[in-house]
Point group: none
Chain length 212, copies 4
DNA sequence: AATGAATGAGCATTCATTCAT
DNA sequence: GATGAATGAATGCTCATTCAT
């Protein structure tokens, strides 16, 4: 892979990610991508097998960056780490709004060629959260009856929704304000075990795992 | 509006909602909609101004049903009502999976003709949740620093995400199992005020409103 | 099938047959076909599944006409009938030169989608000739050792080649002059049995059939 | 012309002849030719002016070999030589089936750049046959009224057709079986003069020449 | 009220050719 | 001599929309 080719692929990535997240996969044309990247249309096909493959490569690229970003936020005790990871997710979306819209819009499509790819890719990011929840579960800090897999996806989706609403409706609001609400909600969930014995239904104190 | 015409519109609705949620708005053709509805292509245009208008009508129809479904679940004290509303959302998505995918996929698109419509429509459903949160806030049952608007969108998005993951990855799992996790997470949040005074940062005890 | 649609298909046929036979299948564009037929490009696709299908339908249409033309020439004793059928083939090609070029050019392609169609279609025309040869064989008028299937294809190909050379190199020459040569060649073949016993190699006097 | 370059051209020839005869000129891409030849795409253009020129060179190369093959079969009295030449044509096609298909498919195209080249090239091969027919005509062994030029093209086309049908439909059949039928047909034609005086139309005993 | 044939702008994709290395 | 990245005109095909019936 020559350096020139690599540079071209990078330009195409950046052009495609913006356009697709703004107009969606279907409404973005290869002409637009090529023009924005400053190359000829044929160059798109010289570098990627097709529009769909460019899209898949793009998703992978984006989720890798997101996962990396989340992993970098993990430090210290799991409780604090979780709050930080969610802040990192919020921050990432603030910076890469275009990609987040793309992820939201295309993840829930069925019957698509790239369906499998999207699911697998998404789980990379959620994996960081569920890893922390596993640790908290091991320390008995999760409420009884909580399924770690479900909870991880719940937190991921919650933050994604909040973040996009933030960017869409109140883009000028500082991140911290938004994060406070998220943090409060999560704290409540985590501290639930402090009160276990009060009302929690009996002895099933161990969190449940997502069945396979 | 004749009964015959109304029946035709209904057939078109049902055909469109399934197809669009499976393949997306862009990838669904008017031909497919007409064929699935068992009418000629021209009939679509006799009954709707165009594909986009059919889509808008469809969203409205679906969100009205969702909001209605959620409102019907509101009863008793707000705390219990909130749990029930979220269960209702979960159940609605279980039954109208196609519509939920559609809502998720198209809500986050910018620069679309129906962007305004989608936002307005979506707020109908979220409104039911934020209504309950307002009541809880008035009773002092929400953690300090919690923004009701953000929290409502967070809960709505959380349940939507969980529900679609459930339908996609573990469709045979009973609703109750999934709901348990959601309920535990929300309970923690609500009970947070039981512990207020412990660690809450300072005097800002009243929940904040989402600024307009 | 409405009358209007049928008329459109006919216009497309006539446009396509001329263009394809002049420039070949690959070099003829759908734009050209539509323009020559005086319809919009989309109309081609409304009436045929695609370019290849239009081509297949075209071949079938042409070979049906050719076979019909050849059958119409069959009358009287088989010996005379054969001469007349070959004259009819020559005449048909004189009139439908474009189609004949098409048949020649595309019959011998392997690995094509329409390969099977072409073979089957071509055998319709050859069938008329082999039918006559069967009759002649039954009357003992064919030379020993002659395979009827091979001979029919030989005569068909011989006349096709001669006819196209005629149209290409000496288009002003009258048909009769060309037919004379063909007729002389065939007469020789048929009269071979007059001399059987002279030099024919042994007892295998019955013509052979093409093995399956 | 360096040895290396000559080797590259040879590789390109072999790759092109197979691909073009299998898929046709139009459907064969320069990429495919380069890949099959094991060289880079640019190398094709370094060695040939373009795709069309490669094709012309290819045809010439093939027809030269065919003509050479036919000439080598000429020996002894013209009557026997003719049978042998036709056997040689059959054998050549059995061995170079790909090239024969190519010749058949492209000879009959009008309006092509290489039209003139193809005709001229083809006449080399037919020339061997018409040469023998001229000799036979001089010895009075051809039927009256036979045009030598037409007859040569007829025999060439007849054998080409038979040969390709043989390779396509009954590739396992031995060459001799196919050749027997061809030989019988030609024998009949040649011996026709043995019977002249019987029914041949009057005094026009001298074969005619193809007018120019 | 419904139909379906026709339309044509728009799109993804292909591919012969060029050229800097 | 050879390479392969880049090009862009050309092409098959799609599909929302129109309209005469």
């Amino acid at each position: 892979m020559s350096a020139r080719r690599e540079a071209t692929r990078q330009k195409l990535f950046e052009a495609a990610i913006t356009l697709i997240s703004e107009h969606g996969f279907g409404a973005t044309t290869v002409d637009q991508i090529a023009e924005r990247a400053g190359v000829a249309k044929g160059t798109v096909y010289y570098n990627f097998a097709g529009k769909a493959e460019l899209f898949t490569a793009l998703l992978e690229w984006g989720v890798d960056r997101l996962a990396e970003h989340l992993r970098a936020a993990v430090s210290g005790p799991p409780r604090a780490a979780l709050t930080e990871v969610l802040r990192a997710e919020l921050a990432f979306i603030g910076t890469h709004e275009a990609f987040a819209r793309l992820l939201m819009a295309e993840t829930w499509r069925t019957n698509q060629v790239w369906y499998a790819a999207v699911r697998q890719i998404r789980s990379k990011a959620i994996g960081v959260i569920s890893g922390l929840l596993e640790e908290l579960a091991a320390e008995g800090e999760l409420p009884a009856g909580l399924d770690v897999g479900v909870a991880a996806s719940a937190l991921f989706g919650m933050v994604l929704t909040v973040a996009l609403d933030w960017r869409t409706l109140q883009p000028d609001r500082p991140l911290e304000e938004v994060h406070t609400t998220v943090a409060r909600m999560v704290e409540g969930m985590l501290r639930a075990d402090d009160r276990s014995g009060e009302t929690n239904g009996g002895p099933s104190l161990t969190p449940r795992r997502t069945p396979r």
